[in-house]
């Protein structure tokens, strides 16, 4: 039993790595490899499923694709990511509004043009121009790059720290657990945005500082979730078995315990990216994040506030970009949560 479970965890992990490397449906190449791990046959499903043992990750992926909202959000995120990565590559390098080297992104997002200030959306400037004549369409696209990378990097740092703290606290326990978790409680007693701007006061302005501030703010959340998940996993037989076979503590944590918390972590991280995008925008809006003229959605809103009634387009498009990307990550997170939960799966 314990051996079987252990094998399964190993397979789940390699499966996970596989999934990240290639498109998940392809990993379904031979589901029969998994036969020994399927202890019970799925007889409740339709006949095609009845004989086949389930591969957790394939099942999950299938269930995710069956969820329309999640699929749409997945495509939306893919679209935003592609735009953020590739379109700025075609950005005109020279400070000119009429480049020959670019057909996709016609304007440099940080170049001002005093002869075209505050133009409403038109054929040349799809989203209009701001008070310095900068093209808002180009700036929204350039902002996608900032917001996405800040979101992903901040969540990655927060995850690394939070998972470590949570795993150590949950697995080792004792006074270390008490100290670490009390510290996390204290951080959670201050609203995240207030903590973030207090950290910004310490670190100074700038996007790199914003990443650090936002990631630190999110550490307690991950630490708590990982800790509570681990506490429930810790008592399982396979952990006792691993301990008996003489595995070291760190091996048990990283090889046996953490893979089982993976689904919870993936869901939280996806939702965390949307939170990080919102917080980045908030810091930018308050003038503490990205500094002008660099384009960032929140900073664009903060900057354009004075033109709320004269030039609404300066505020509508960056705000829409924030809302859409946050919405996409929220939907994907919800979809993943359902997909990971066998009981809630869409069939």
């Amino acid at each position: 039993m314990a051996k079987n479970r252990k094998d399964k965890i190993g397979e789940l992990m390699t499966e996970a790595q596989h999934n990240e490397a290639s498109a998940p449906p392809e990993t379904a190449a031979d589901p029969r490899v998994e036969t020994e791990t399927a202890l019970t046959k799925n007889v409740v499903g339709d006949e095609t499923l009845a004989e086949k043992p389930e591969n957790q990750w394939v099942e999950m992926w299938r269930s995710l694709l069956a969820n329309k909202a999640a699929t749409i959000s997945l495509f939306l995120i893919l679209f935003i990511v592609l735009v953020a990565i590739f379109v700025p590559m075609f950005m005109p390098k020279t400070p000119t509004t009429n480049p020959v080297n670019s057909k996709i992104m016609l304007y440099n997002p940080t170049v001002t043009n005093m002869s075209a200030v505050r133009q409403p959306p038109n054929a040349k400037h799809w989203f209009g121009t701001d008070d310095l004549g900068m093209d808002i369409f180009s700036r929204v696209i350039a902002g996608a790059r900032v917001s996405l990378s800040v979101g992903v990097i901040a969540v990655a740092i927060a995850l690394a720290l939070g998972v470590t703290v949570g795993a150590v606290a949950g697995y080792i326990g004792g006074w270390l657990d008490t100290v670490l978790m009390r510290f996390m409680d204290m951080m959670l007693a201050v609203p995240s945005i207030l903590l973030a701007i207090t950290l910004m006061a310490v670190l100074g302005k700038g996007i790199d500082k914003a990443v650090i501030a936002i990631s630190l703010v999110y550490v307690p959340e991950y630490a708590r979730i990982v800790r509570s998940t681990i506490l429930s996993i810790k008592e399982n037989d396979y952990i006792a078995a691993a301990r008996l076979t003489g595995d070291s503590q760190s091996r048990i944590i990283f090889r046996h315990v953490l893979p089982n918390t993976l689904s919870v972590i993936i869901v939280r991280a996806t939702l965390g990216i949307s939170g990080a995008i919102l917080d980045t925008a908030a810091l930018g809006f308050l003038g503490m994040g990205v500094q002008p003229p660099q384009a960032e959605w929140g900073a664009m809103l903060g900057w354009a506030r004075g033109y709320i009634f004269q030039c609404p387009w300066m505020l509508i498009f960056p705000g829409m970009a924030i809302t859409l990307s946050v919405l996409a990550f929220n939907l994907l997170g919800d979809g993943l949560r359902d997909a990971f939960d066998p009981k809630a799966r869409v069939k």
Binding site: R182, F183, D185, M186, M187, A189, V190, P191, S192, I193, L194, I197, T198, L199, M200, A201, V202, G204, S274, L278, A281, A282, F285, L286, G287, M288, G298, L301, R305, I308, F309, P312, L315, I316, G319, I322, T323, V326, L327, N330, L331
Partner: protein
Amino acid sequence: MVIPVLIGVSIIVFCLLRVFAPDPAPIVLGEHATAASMKAWRDSQGLNKPVVTQYVNYMKGVFHGDLGYSYYTNTKVTDEIMARFPATIELAITAIIFASIFGIILGVIAAVKKNSIFDAASTLIALVGVSIPIFWLGILLMMIFCGPSTHIFPAGGRITPLMDPTHITGLYTLDSLFTGNWAAFKDAVWHLVLPSFTLGMYSMAIITRITRSTMLDSLNQDYVRTARAKGIREVMVVMKHALRNSMIPVTTVIGLQFGALLGGALLTESVFSWPGIGKFTVDCILKSDFPIVQGIVLLIAAIFVLVNLAADIAYAFLDPRIRYTSKKEE
């Protein structure tokens, strides 16, 4: 638990702002301050003493209700905060009331009419509510309702100048009611509508979600089936049997949301030029007025911890199983 957490918060904030933050002297005194004048200023503020001594002195003050003095105006931090705090509290309370009422209503409707158009609509509202940046929502509402052409609601501030009611509680709506100043009351409420809607939107979305899922849960319970079997009217089944039992998780979430609201107030106040502590905090951080920032963070943490404590206590009142007397109907 309350006191240790607050002392911990005070240590963290103190360390951040006094040890790790850049020296406030050049910012407070201006670029042209000499080294001697900066040293004199630091001495006068006690910033040259060892950090531990500084902290002990600070905490001695805190326990006596003294949070220090502003670097700029030299007024008491408590006075500076109290001058603005009622505005924030008024906004936050209105927002949480709005969020709770509409959140619970939407959640109940979504659960009772599961998979209907109402369910879809309330899910959509909840989804947009958690995704829309609070400051952009504020800006949009302003654009729609406060423009020169529409002008349905005022574009900012707490009250029309010169209409302020006599200060009793500092909450303009209450003050104007107490003094019977109806014009001021109407004006204050009018100013509250958009900011509290903006601030409450996120919490409303969260409350809708939790209400829907806990209601779905309790509607499937045996006692609900029993109640229906006994022929109790559906409204009573939903309101009394299902909703009452769903209120416990909902109350926890409302408690947690009140803390989050105080953070959101920071952004809402900035958008609507609301003269509360949120906007003030941002200003003080930008000009390194650290004693005030410390005071505000401590105050908000205290409220957050106390509200959660209150939510814990509220369980006893909400959990029908804890009641032994006055059983009606059943």
